[in-house]
């Protein structure tokens, strides 16, 4: 019951977010609310401001205008800009996850898979090797990586395995909100399909809220509940995924949807 009440309140609120680099406006007046367990896809061509928006939302970039607020575990919604750096970094290690397009950015390539998954646990004070390892093997199983490879460094992993390992590393502390930047980019099609399937299962199981940036409409279709279409730093269309993709209103969205090759 308490969960239902909580679900009424947004987890993340963007309020007329803007970011400009000199005269170039990368992101203009973006506003939305994200609710617990909701998956929002941000689609658009490259240069449309998707990644900038993701960085603004996750507090890695300071906005030129507007605010991002996040509802903390204690139920209080707070402005990210007003959080101290320590709090923000703690959020990033516990409540949030960030899945990079290039796993090398999100993983420590030189240390073993187990330590990669366990790092967040150790960062929040876990001090028992056996339990950290148990949790790491559990998560490797959940992302379909053979537990026998727990002591191998990710640089010996294939691209798909690296991406799955990165996901495990992010989910191990039970985050509420995960940011994903083109998580399937750079993977071949069969691996993409498997990864998407896995993501969909995990997101549903863990009741995650997700902001996923992608230029691949199929990814948006499979994973997301809602879609935001961006062009030139503006959100030009937003709505339920099926509604936007099946019945696009804006000419640009129509172009985007019609440019998908039929299978």
């Amino acid at each position: 019951m308490a969960d239902l009440l909580e679900a009424d309140q947004p987890l993340l609120i963007a309020d007329s977010l803007s970011k400009s680099y000199g005269r170039i406006a990368a992101c203009r007046e973006v506003s939305f609310s994200l609710y617990p367990g909701e998956v929002l896809a941000i689609v658009g061509e490259s240069g449309s401001g998707k990644s900038t928006l993701l960085q603004l939302l996750s507090g890695q970039l300071a906005p030129s205008g507007g605010h991002v607020s996040y509802r903390m575990r204690d139920g209080v919604t707070r402005d990210l800009a007003a959080l101290g750096e320590a709090e923000r970094r703690l959020l990033f290690r516990t409540d949030w996850g960030f899945v990079h397009q290039d796993p090398a950015q999100g993983l420590r390539m030189a240390v073993s898979a187990g330590a990669n998954v366990g790092e967040r646990l150790m960062a929040v004070g876990w001090n028992h090797y056996g339990r950290i390892r148990e949790s790491a093997s559990d998560w490797l199983t959940r992302v379909e990586i053979d537990v026998a490879r727990i002591d191998d460094a990710p640089r010996t992993y294939s691209g798909g395995m690296r991406q799955r390992l990165q996901i495990a590393r992010n989910l191990v502390t039970g985050p509420l909100l995960v940011f994903m930047d083109e998580p399937t980019g750079g993977l071949d099609v069969s691996v993409q399909a498997r990864l998407l399937d896995l993501l969909r299962t995990l997101v549903a199981e863990l009741h995650l809220a997700v902001v996923i940036v992608t230029h691949d409409l199929a990814v948006a279709r499979l994973l997301s509940h809602r879609v935001m279409v961006m062009k030139g730093g503006r959100v030009i269309e937003t709505g339920l995924t099926d509604q936007v993709l099946d019945d696009p209103r804006e000419p640009y969205t129509q172009l985007l949807v019609s440019s998908i090759l039929p299978p």
Partner: protein, 298 residues
Amino acid sequence: MNAPAYNFAYLDEQTKRMIRRAILKAIAIPGYQVPFASREMPMPYGWGTGGVQVTAAILGPQDVLKVIDQGSDDTTNAISIRKFFAKTAGVGTTTATDQATVIQTRHRIPEAALHENQVLVYQVPIPEPLRFLEPRETETRRMHALAEYGLMHVKLYEDIARFGHIATAYAYPVKVNARYVMDPSPTPKFDNPKMDNCPALQLFGAGREKRIYAIPPYTQVVSLDFEDHPFEPYRFNAPCALCGAENSYLDEIVTDDRGSRMFVCSDTDYCEGRQAAGHHGALSAAPYKDKAQGDANG
């Protein structure tokens, strides 16, 4: 002072003041790495330029200096530094741990218990314990500032995953005064327990990296570990071949090309003291020449 061409202890007074300010700050914040304007010293980096600057800054005319290199008083590095200060500061030098007031050390803590009137100066090559896991200086500083030390356990985790136990044998990370994680310089982890609650002041100087840090007397120093893999000091399981000591840190010396080896105390002063007091090991050459104690001509 027997060498008027130099200022007392080689460095000029302004430099010494600057270093002393850094030392005071380091003592005020145990384990925190204080940046300082490290000078060029007349020796190569890696030979103790940091330790020498700290020693030069704290040395007074009444001090008695002892210099050890991996426990030994008679290696090139130790002798050179001892001579350097005998010449530029005219201070007394000794090899006896209990007679020294300032002990500059490379990679060891003397076996004999230190006392309140002593200062231990460590030569430090790389002061940043997080460096090999996080190459960015900006990031490691932030991690220290926010006390984010999960990464240090990642290193220990890796050790256990690979070797079945914490295989880090030297430069074993410690937490000082329940706040800063610190690299104790490449001392063997055997020496870590000696840092805890030590009556002597411990100063660390890294010349190339331009950092000074300190452990004030009687400060808590805890070696990091896991609950199920606790910290354990390591020691070769043998008595010293010269003095028979069972509880000192040993060096392994290969004696021929057929696999023979002997284990001797790495702390030469401790070993000689024990031999002079009549202790003998399996390979000690009798009769022991009872000189060497309190040898004051460095």
